[in-house]
Assembly symmetry: C2
Homo-oligomer: 153 residues x 2
Amino acid sequence: MSKKITRQDPESSARFAVADRLHSTAIHLLRRVRKQDVASGEGPARLSALSVLVFGGPKTLGELAAAEQVKPPTMSRIVAGLARSKLVQITADPQDGRRMSIRPTPKGVKLLQEGRQRRIEYLASHLAGLTPAELAQVAESTEILARVLRNWA
Amino acid sequence: MSKKITRQDPESSARFAVADRLHSTAIHLLRRVRKQDVASGEGPARLSALSVLVFGGPKTLGELAAAEQVKPPTMSRIVAGLARSKLVQITADPQDGRRMSIRPTPKGVKLLQEGRQRRIEYLASHLAGLTPAELAQVAESTEILARVLRNWA
DNA sequence: TGAAGTTAGTTAGCATAGCTAACTATATTA
DNA sequence: TAATATAGTTAGCTATGCTAACTAACTTCA
């Protein structure tokens, strides 16, 4: 019981405080932006999976599940929904009959890009009050965090 | 059709680019951190509502729904779940019989703080690779974004 | 004062999204 | 070729979001 927060070294508590604020801010930011996606008619999980396909090329179901950090049964239903909406096309792997290749249809690409446009423009419009210096600061720290994510265990 | 992105002024495209990266980074960051919350046995919506109560004091159901940007029926079920787990206590408003006052129990405060500790420590541990300057940069831009959120339309 | 309207919250019913356990079908290996 | 491993699906649970329709309580005002 001797290792309380207040006894940690200053760097560690600074990290803790930043992590706390960062976490809370990210949650609230996404909660706002997410509402823009309702217009697409597809849920967040489907849009996110579709985005992986559009920007990362065709994937098997297992690859998609791994990319989205979700279990295969969950991705199975997400892909089924996307296929039902004709946003992805599924073909069998000629080498391995168990595998499927999932790729976006033109309709899927279009829907994703339009939704992305809406969402990002909405977010961007709220960044309009920032000074160029503040915007640059946000941009730099976003890249720092993106690097942290790439090196995530 | 003449107002394409490529014809917008430089400041506007800078905002757009930052918004895009920010959005994607926030999504992936939260997806990682969220897994730590599973240990608490409560879902994200309940933990988030409980957090509002712990840090913001007692609220009515409507106030909680507004704070969480969710419709009343949704919050009704979230609160019912928290009450079932004995994490909040519900009392009638003596002034207005329609209203309820929702407040965290000691058990609720404890669970939230422990979960928060776990989650934030996990996130903080991944910020350990940052230099003090980088950490400061992230801290500053987080505050900039928090301000943007406060002024959100 | 009492009928009409407003407000707070609930109930019912739908869809999405996450999970585990148990299954099928195909490949691989001993 | 028989046993095992891998890819994906199905079934069934929980949680979270919504709208529509409801109940109960408060407010207004003729």
